[in-house]
Amino acid sequence: MLNIIWLLLLVSGIIVAALNGNIEVVSQAALGAARDAVEVCFNLIGIMALWLGIMKIAEKGGLIQLLAYLLNPLLKRLFPSVPAGHPAMGAIVLNLSANMLGLGNAATPFGMKAMQEMQRLNGGSDQASAAMCTFLALNTSCITLVPATIIGIRVSCGSVDPTEIVGACIFATCCASTVAISLDWLLRNLTRPERRKQ
């Protein structure tokens, strides 16, 4: 699916640019985006290093495992393939909590840690495991209790009640999460991992 979407984005973009007679836009956009992508990754390095360092202390001290153990009754339903008390669970909890609090910067490194732990269980395959798909379904549709950025923009534009949208956001996210979790469950049980292509 991703292969098709990626190709579609590129091909339709280039065709439209050609038909509109501004083909030079394509090269500008492509080269600019390639540079931006590296910048995004470089900006991540420091934040990643900070939180992965802190995570290491929590992990070696047994804090992550404790967190995973405490939330196991809930997590084992969502992630049946991850063993109880596995560090992946602890990282998942931290990622989702950070997401809910609107701490995007801290959420990403926690999420990477969770992915690394799940990749270990996945045997280093280049194909997503069921647990990863569930985690990302939760992550992308996760409730943000404090949508800080958008509230900030509303404040700066002189809103009478900048936080009035929070209830609506929570309602809409709950709908999204419900669909994500049910669809993930359905697809997990209906599909099988592809065989490795030679």
């Binding site: 956009a29 360092g53 001290g61 997503a128 990863m132 309602f171 809409a172 599909t191 592809e194």
Partner: protein, 178 residues
């Protein structure tokens, strides 16, 4: 009240973690600084590992946007979205949201500035921005960091959640604010 509390929690969360975890490690007799550095080392490799994935994805999205192909896509879904009760002005934001975080934030800010934060359009833009995440970015970065190339059904689930969030945002805004 609850919001004020949540706001305080999110303000204190990072300092709290930075305090609690190292102190906890120290009490557990860990060499805290050495352990920190050992973990931090992974930060660089993880970030670098994402580069090829992100370059691929951002280039495709950027070409799609800049060429004007995205505007045609917006025109195509316009009648459907208007049936759902969305003003034409929020269309570009709706389509941008799963593709590009910074792009969506820019569009939302513009809509809030032009139409005012307390107009229907301004509120709808706020809710859309506050509801869903940038699915393409999240999948690219998270899968990229561990070298996953085949996403299976993850993209389908993520995009279905986005569409649901979008429709729910339109519905709830019309209900509450119109």
């Amino acid at each position: 009240m609850i919001l004020k509390m949540l706001d305080t929690v999110s303000r204190w969360a990072i300092p709290f973690l930075l305090l609690a975890i190292p102190v906890y490690g120290f009490l557990k007799r860990l060499p805290v600084y050495e352990t920190f550095v050992e973990g931090a080392e992974e930060g660089f490799y993880t970030a670098v590992k994402i580069i090829p994935f992100l370059v691929g994805m951002l280039v495709a999205i950027s070409v799609f946007r800049a060429s004007g192909a995205m505007d045609y896509a917006i025109q195509a879904i316009m009648p459907l979205m208007q049936k759902l009760g969305a003003p034409a002005e929020v269309m570009p934001l709706a389509l941008m949201r799963p593709l590009s975080g910074s792009g969506a934030l820019g569009l939302a800010t513009e809509l809030i500035k032009i139409y005012g934060p307390d107009s229907l359009i301004g509120r709808m833009a706020s809710v859309m921005q506050g509801t869903t995440d940038t699915t393409f970015f999240v999948l690219t970065v998270y899968f990229g960091s561990v070298g996953i190339k085949r996403y299976r059904y993850a993209l389908l689930t993520g995009l279905s959640a986005d569409i649901t969030g979008l429709i729910a945002s339109i519905y709830v805004c019309n209900l509450l604010f119109n």
